[in-house]
Symmetry: C2
Subunit: 432 residues, 2 copies
């Protein structure tokens, strides 16, 4: 390990064997934390190159069990988002893909900080079981086309060990380490095609377009070197995605999109992500065909039917598709309205809203915090919207009046108004 540390410190090149050894040693707890920490910091300042990133990714993927999808129809799909505020696309993209005849097996994480997690959203649904064994996942996917569960500790255990240490040593934000963390889990979960949603803006890990684009490029190129077919969209996270932020609120919004899709940003992004997956998986030949199929699956009710089958298979109360109050509801709702002269929404800062959601209890400040599934925000305006006096801007769903008051104050900070028309911000910045 001292040799590996010295090589990294000097910016030298590791071999594939070195990095496989490091990943396995980390997974098995055989390398002291302080040596891994020194290596991780050296990596942040002397980053791995593309070869090394791919070798580390493969080493991490091989550090535990690999989900064997043999018997499921190809392409073996997966989808990943780097995390944002109000990002509930998985709940709609998976049903669209299943309605297009594909089979999706996916593992997701819980939220941390301003970033929500799909598992937290699903857990807000009464009865929904997120802890499936790999065998249960495969059986369910074969039966209903979709299986979605919490990350298994058996897959890519090196990632769990390295991530915990990165979190504790200020070494999270290194592109090669982020790339290997994301892709090692996808490879270990048996994917052969993965569509990546790289979020960009104040509500995302990557704040600037340049850094998001760099991450997207590295993800796609590293995936290619690992034999994984990947495509990526770099998408806007300057404002929250869709109308809601908060777990049950987002499930409600996803169900509403499945039942009555519209032309809003959330539905459009779900269609584009699904279309990109169809294209990457060579299920559609052109972007137009892919989009048409995804749109038809959503508009024609196929996706809704698949979502119902999926939720039911994982034990969810089917009433959530019928009645809003079948999902947890917060006792207090307060709405902020616009007062005064007409104005245009110039910004609704996703980073600030994300922090306010954590404060409300919708997210976690640290790993072991409990969350409140019912609380969050509902937005009635987005960037570009013209507001006149009395128009609602946002409704906070809170556990107490005090929380609601504080949260509405933060929404005021997140909101910038101007008196000139504002163009809508672009939804997709780049497609790779």
């Amino acid at each position: 390990m001292l040799d590996l540390i010295a090589t990294r410190r000097a910016g030298g090149k590791h071999s594939a064997d070195d990095l496989a050894w490091l990943a396995l040693g980390a997974a098995r707890g055989e390398i002291p934390d302080y040596q891994l920490a020194a290596w991780l910091m050296a990596e942040c300042l002397r980053p791995l190159d593309l070869d090394e990133t791919a070798w580390l990714t493969q080493g991490m993927a091989a550090s535990g069990r690999r989900l064997d999808r043999t018997g499921l129809p190809h392409p073996w799909l997966d989808k990943h988002s780097t995390g944002g505020v109000g990002d509930k696309t998985t709940l709609v993209v998976l049903p669209i893909l299943a309605a297009c005849g594909l089979t999706v097996v996916k593992m997701s994480g819980r939220g941390l900080g301003i970033t929500g997690g799909t598992i937290d959203k699903l857990e807000s649904v009464p009865g929904f079981r997120v802890n499936l064994t790999p065998e249960e996942m495969l059986a369910q996917a074969a039966r209903v086309g979709i299986a979605e569960a919490a990350q298994s500790e058996e897959l890519a255990p090196a990632d769990k060990a390295l991530y915990a240490l990165r979190d504790a040593t200020g070494t999270v934000d290194s592109i090669p380490l982020i790339v290997s963390s994301i892709l090692s889990k996808k490879i270990a979960s048996g994917a052969e095609v993965v569509v990546l949603d790289v979020k960009c803006g104040s509500g995302a890990f990557m704040k600037s377009e340049a850094s998001a684009l760099e991450l997207a490029r590295r993800l796609v190129e590293t995936a290619r070197r690992c034999g994984l077919k990947a495509g990526a969209l770099v998408t806007d996270m300057r404002q929250p995605l869709g109308r809601t932020v908060g777990n049950a609120l987002e499930v409600r919004e996803a169900i509403s999109a499945l039942k009555s899709p519209d032309e809003g940003r959330f539905c459009r992004l779900c269609v584009l992500l699904a279309a990109h997956a169809l294209l990457m998986g060579e299920v559609a030949a052109t972007q137009e065909e892919a989009e048409a199929r995804a749109r038809e699956a959503l508009a024609g009710g196929g996706a809704l039917a698949k979502a119902k089958a999926w939720f039911e298979a994982q034990g969810a109360d089917a009433a959530v598709f019928e009645r809003d109050d079948a999902l947890p509801t917060a006792p207090i709702r307060r709405t902020l309205t616009h007062e005064g002269a007409p104005a245009f929404v110039e910004a609704l800062d996703a980073g600030i809203i994300g922090e306010a959601a954590v404060e409300l209890g919708a997210g976690r400040a640290s790993k072991d915090d409990a969350i409140d599934p019912a609380v969050g925000f509902e937005f009635h305006a987005e960037i570009g919207r013209r507001l006149v006096s009395g128009d609602p801007v946002a409704t906070v769903h809170a556990a107490s009046e005090a929380d609601a008051g504080q949260a509405l104050g933060v929404v005021r900070q997140a909101l910038s108004l101007g008196n000139r028309p504002v163009t809508e911000s672009p939804l997709v910045l780049t497609t790779l």
Copy 2:
């Protein structure tokens, strides 16, 4: 700690309070090893500046007890060598300074790798006690002018904690960390004037003159910022210092120098180091006066008398000053002689000799190794010497014939001969 790691990673500036907190936390074991390791690696790649180095040094010095020399005459002297092969100057410099009327209290380390340690040399003397309490040291210094002991764990405990971690994480060779390690111990041991011998060459930590000079400058400047008066000599370590390498052999050479000083490199360096201390401590006004006093103390027998009093005070067998065999002797002695045409010694590589000495058992490959006090090398030639056939080059003192044969083979590798005259290599490269 995460803030400190982030600052270091970004190459930002720590405050004095930050670094005092880090040193204390390291000393008390309150900061997890993996966080310290990440910080240390970030420091290697984004080094501390002069302010920060001084603040860390002061924080480390304040992390434990400080030896209080109140009552001992000023200047409160100390001497430090960065370590070399055959470096036994302390055994002669301390007696010279005491003979000049000064009082020296010094703590030393044990050897590791090719670098010898004064404590190992003293322990080769039958009866010599190296574990003195701070109180015993002060009382002895007041009585006989010299006290020399193994590093106390009560002084600068942050250095012990950080050094162990640096050793285990490939972060030893950072100049700010080396400087703070050396000087924090000097400050904690109550010194106000310190003379530094920065070794340079294959047998030293700093191989190049530029790096040794950089270390010397940083040491002197950091000391100044910490209120410690320091001077430094950058001295040659391309070949071993003096005639011997090995613990008892070096004690014998030092006693011989005290009894019958000559004009060889070892005696000359002892005089120059003592003179620099006299000058730095403002005991002598000029270099000439300082050298004359040091030379007189050595030639006039004053230093020998002080050495005897010192050794006796620490329990040593006085016979070591009378009989060679009062010190441990090795059972096997084998001499390499020059054969063939006359030739000049172009090199006698100190690094190679140092490694051979470790192999023989005179030094430690790792911290917990035992050493053999009797073994080592005696050299009959140095760089520039003309050899004719039959001239002895080196005698190895070994525990077995096999060891002796192997060691002589290594001496042959360390030795380069040429047929043109070679100028003696300079002893002192720079004086600061």
